[in-house]
């Protein structure tokens, strides 16, 4: 995998862990271990997203973007769009 693909993969992995933990917390809101895990993953994901946005372009709405979100990189469903 290229550096870009590796970084996107890191974002994908952290995001999915958050997705799954979020659902768990919806039905187990009192689980402190899950809350800790969620917070840790949020931080990891935020750093990876900032890094990616700097180097390869912005993925998220409501975050600063030099070249706009769309024109520069493949769309997620195109080849090269998702690691």
């Amino acid at each position: 995998m290229s550096e870009q693909e590796l970084l996107l993969h890191k974002i994908d992995v952290a995001s999915f862990a958050l997705d799954d933990t979020r659902l768990f917390l919806d039905t187990h809101p009192e689980c402190e271990q899950a809350v800790c895990y969620y917070d840790k993953l949020c931080q990891m994901r935020d750093h990876a997203l900032e890094d990616y946005a700097c180097k390869y372009g912005q993925l998220c709405a409501y975050r600063p973007s030099e070249n706009g979100m769309w024109g520069k990189n493949p769309l997620p469903w195109e080849n090269g769009g998702n690691a």
Partner: protein
Amino acid sequence: MWTYEKRLQYPVKIAHPNPDLANAIVSQIGGPDGEIGASLRYLSQRYSMTNRNVSGLLTDIGTEELAHMEMVSAIIHQLTRCLSAQQIMNSKLAPYYVDHTTGIYPAAADGTPYTVKYFQSKGDPITDLHEDMAAEQKARTTYDNLLRLIDDPDVCDPIKFLREREIVHFQRFGEALETVKDELDCRNFYAFNPSFDAK
């Protein structure tokens, strides 16, 4: 409100087009047990839940189903690249192609366009959560059926992911149902509808 992130929840990287498979898989976008129906069902039902965590669960799962709709659309998109007219004519995709070329259109595998009649939002938490649990099982069975038809590991991979998520969603909805019942009279859960009747 919703925001969008420019990535798929799970990668879709399919090397070999296959119009027959695309025709079958389109049911998971616009078929009776597909992702659009799932998303609209949960996002519609969340307003009448009396427990906020349950509304939250419906919001979160409804949102995830939109990401799944996107993944299935990506699968179809990649399965229908670079097809010749001959390939299309020899495949089961010919009728879909006539009306939609290789664009994405929410329909079932037999061509029936998506309809909101595929889901109910009954305004009763116990009823709605039972519908949701059934919906996840129906989706899981549909993915099981598709996996029997698929030889290509590039296609199996994201489909297996989507199937797993249905099972997790089913688990969460079961827990939400228990949460709702815990807040009702244990001698008679049906005594009143907490979303409608004054206590």
